[in-house]
Symmetry: D2
Subunit: 319 residues, 4 copies
């Protein structure tokens, strides 16, 4: 039952023209679901994370010869995530940076990597009862809040550290205050112009911090607030315009952010034609479609900030 | 390109011993995604629904002969849902009852059916800006709220109407105040007893109203409140106990409810063994497991209320 | 940090009018993912299962008092599933029956339960190589096959055993040989009649065996074959007719089956109107819609077989 | 009800230091579900696609001013997909290239874009009946095949066209012929070495063609075959080794491919410890875990092929 043993390429082959060689690579443990309870006070706090650790460096012999001598086991990476969580998480960004520091300082040949943290939000359960409660909230009982997931991707290349924060699936909708007209018409254009439509999207955004010396949790909360307020406030002539304004106001209020990228589906709500049934439909009854959907993606940036492609190389889902 | 035409059974066959016949059946349109905007005032309201309509009655010839003369097209059912939404939704329960009344009164041979409505919750976006806003909330911009989905299943059998309300995926967690011990041990038992564990679940609940003369929206909000408060409040010796108390308090506070059923997964959070790394773990670092999970299902009812199996026949996911 | 202790109802309350009491209940471990490798021969076989075990009996004190003395831990149920798999799985139906026998015979107060098994299908990887291969297939390398999942639900009530087999998500499509016309028209009807449409569905079916003395694996394979052949063969005037013929032919060829139930979505494929672009579309280009979809559910049964509601009580997703 | 009108930045601002400007952007219609039926012969063929079209070029005024004069509506892009499908799809790669040619040649300011096509595989239903059938297969009835999805991403930048083919979710498993040992051990390492384990993964692969003058469908089929055969054949000392061999053999047999990238989860199957129950477990009973999972990503390439970052810029899910 011994399968064919893969024969490694002779050493001389690697350099020859047309040789087949290993390119970029990374590996690790994905979606480690760790929940940290801070219980030093009666009012508990919980941090609910999904952590992915991926290492980069010289792992060639594992690929070409099945030699695992440099392969820090993905199981070891998982154990390390749990062990480091014992000291507290702080913020997703800080926790990812600690993991980056640990792995690159512990193993010579690990020269960098990628650490992604997703955080799910919980709120204390409101209660009218007073046992184990204060200010109308229970001390150690929680209900999951909102639809969005907070994200952080930290990448490290030698001593360079890149921090990209973000959120996914923040579902928002405007029931008026959105138009769409003035677009070009060709032989395939049938869309009717409108000066009043529902605008709905599920925001995915990622932004790069140009410093690590900030309060990541406070910054996140405020970026989320600015995005929500701007989505609500902008009278939209195009989802592109709404997106751009959201990015612009985030950058205006957050000098520590170099650029921000958005991926925003246009979740169509079509006005239902009730005329066949003898009814008018003055923008009241809509059909929420699933697929296809519009998809608007753009980056808003500062003209004087140096691009940092390494920060974005594996931050997926964006142009 | 004519496939084999199905030959209907001769009329004499239906009555003979061992004949193959049609049993229970229903059909309709599923998951009609309708969004109703109430825009008569500056502060809009939106109702975001997924509606399923299924008709019952005598549709035998469609099955046995492909004769569609009794088949109210599922497309017609969809159109009807949109048309009736024009007059306002009210509550999921009321909207489902209106659909039931419409179909059973419009078509002689439609003697009943099943109408299920799911509602997704939206909140006005909080804002510090004042344009189109009042009391710190935007008038016509919304953000999706919470993780749970409100549900209503109305079934009608002739003139009898059954209303089962509910919710799905209400995710809750207690970081302490939960024990589990005293269970029997056999040769396959390895579980260690605990007097302090995380208790987490995603509540699915359904309850039957014994009257239709109530404010369904107010009732829903209060049942949800009671369930959350009770989950938080009960010091749990078993998830079964928490479930039972949640049902008991709902029935105690809501005389209009005959019985309530729960399906509650026990979403395990295992304490991570950090001893191999020289660390203690005093209930601080947990691993959130996906599968398998415990699954606790039970009904809490009033001893003097007559069971109504027709109300529950197709309300799935419960014992 | 002690939450409110739930006070059990006094014994006298249970019998009084209007008392709140426990109704039907069951509990256990859900979705235990077990893979059994049969490796006694060079050509391995693998059985890939998701097993759910739920016990029924008298568990009242766990609910009312948090007394776990009768609660066979769900962890113990999981361990038992793994231990019994060591002896071989046989078929999903047989494995579920062994679990039923084990739990009801091991614990006096466990009077019945529900055991559901889902099986995922794997095929040996075809290969042109000869190492560890025979007849063009590799001995111990597999690729997942098909989209459907095989299911079995065994319920036990005292000494009575009920076996319902089935499958989920068998995706099929006919590109012609399907019509739909002759349906009634009312004020909400806009659908155009058609004598040639795409018919697509994802079959979920469940059937009850009236005996346990059969080769369950062979029966399953043949029922699946008959359903596929019949779907292909019937010239369809309604999805209801196709469904009925599928059930009829299964019952005609399988006397060991008492009745069969189907839930079949009508997955709409709408002909795209290309006329605005100056193109004809003779049934060539279709838009595959997501929601809403038609939903057709029916039972086909033998007129002389006694109904057995206990076999179907918790087999969900059907009328 | 007019929301705040977004004021465009004055023209002078764009050039000034620290100005906030638009970065990379693209937009279009996502997941257009088109099914093409080729029915010129009795034996039909169906092509089942999900097509995403995204345009690039100068769309600045839409973002900064809500001026839609350059915005080819996403609805128009959808219509174009349907209209072009009328002429036949050919292969996902060819269809995407036709869309690229259409949009870049039709609109001056559209200088490029991204077109992604996913294809779902269907097989003719095997049948023992002879009506509308030949060689044991039905002419126009189909069943969905396999678990994997074929993918193609075509990007165009001016006159440069990049074609990346691929597949997602090809689920494979070896029940023996896999070892893992020799990895480094640190204070966080607890994993035990093994010389016989289950190796399971769900292959996602993408490869770049260096020419467009090939039979894309034949190439796809053969790449898939080589990957499956190699996965089966390689006696694995590390999933990295299996991955590398899969890539190497694809490149060796397909000179038209410049490089190939893989993302392969290590879907852990843990041997269950049956010792507490007095049972041995000689690699027979495994627990299939969900999360966390290993994640191995790498590129295999030719040393003499010039890298083409533009081909991979938005091909996500890889390092």
């Amino acid at each position: 039952m011994s399968d064919t043993i893969a024969t490694p390429a002779p050493a001389s082959e690697a350099g020859q023209d047309g040789a087949i060689v290993l390119g970029d690579n990374q590996y690790g443990k994905a979606e480690v679901r760790v929940v940290k309870v801070d219980r030093d006070k009666p009012r508990h706090r919980i941090t609910d994370l999904s952590v992915t650790s991926q290492l980069r460096g010289d792992f060639t012999v594992a690929h070409t010869q099945g030699d695992n001598s440099p392969v820090v086991a993905t199981d070891t990476q998982k154990n390390t995530i749990f062990a480091l969580a014992k000291d507290g998480v702080g913020s997703p960004e800080q926790f990812a940076m600690r993991l980056a520091e640990h792995f690159t300082s512990s193993f010579d040949w690990v020269t960098g990597g990628r650490w992604e943290v997703k955080e799910y939000t919980w709120e204390h359960i409101p209660t009218s009862l007073t046992t184990n409660a204060s200010d109308g909230e229970h001390d150690h009982a929680f209900v999951k809040a909102g639809t969005e997931t907070r994200t952080a991707v930290v990448q490290r290349d030698g001593d360079d550290v890149f921090v990209v924060a973000g959120l996914e699936d923040l579902s928002v909708l405007k029931s008026t205050g959105s138009e769409f007209h003035g677009f070009p018409r060709d032989r395939y254009t049938t869309l009717v112009e409108t000066d009043d439509r529902i605008l709905a999207t599920s925001v995915t955004a990622r932004w790069r911090y140009t410093t690590t010396d900030i309060d990541f949790n406070a910054a996140y909360d405020d970026v989320r607030r600015v995005m929500l307020e701007t989505f609500a406030d902008v009278h939209s002539l195009a989802l592109q315009q709404t997106l751009y304004q959201m990015g612009k106001r985030v950058l205006e209020t957050h000098p520590e952010i170099g650029e921000i990228k958005f991926s925003m589906p246009n979740l169509h709500h079509f006005l239902v034609d009730l005329a066949p049934f003898g009814l008018e439909n003055p923008k009241e009854v809509f059909y929420a479609a699933d697929r296809p959907y519009g998809l608007i993606e753009a980056e808003v940036k500062r003209s004087d900030v140096t691009p940092e492609p390494r920060a974005w190389a594996t931050v997926t889902g964006f142009c």
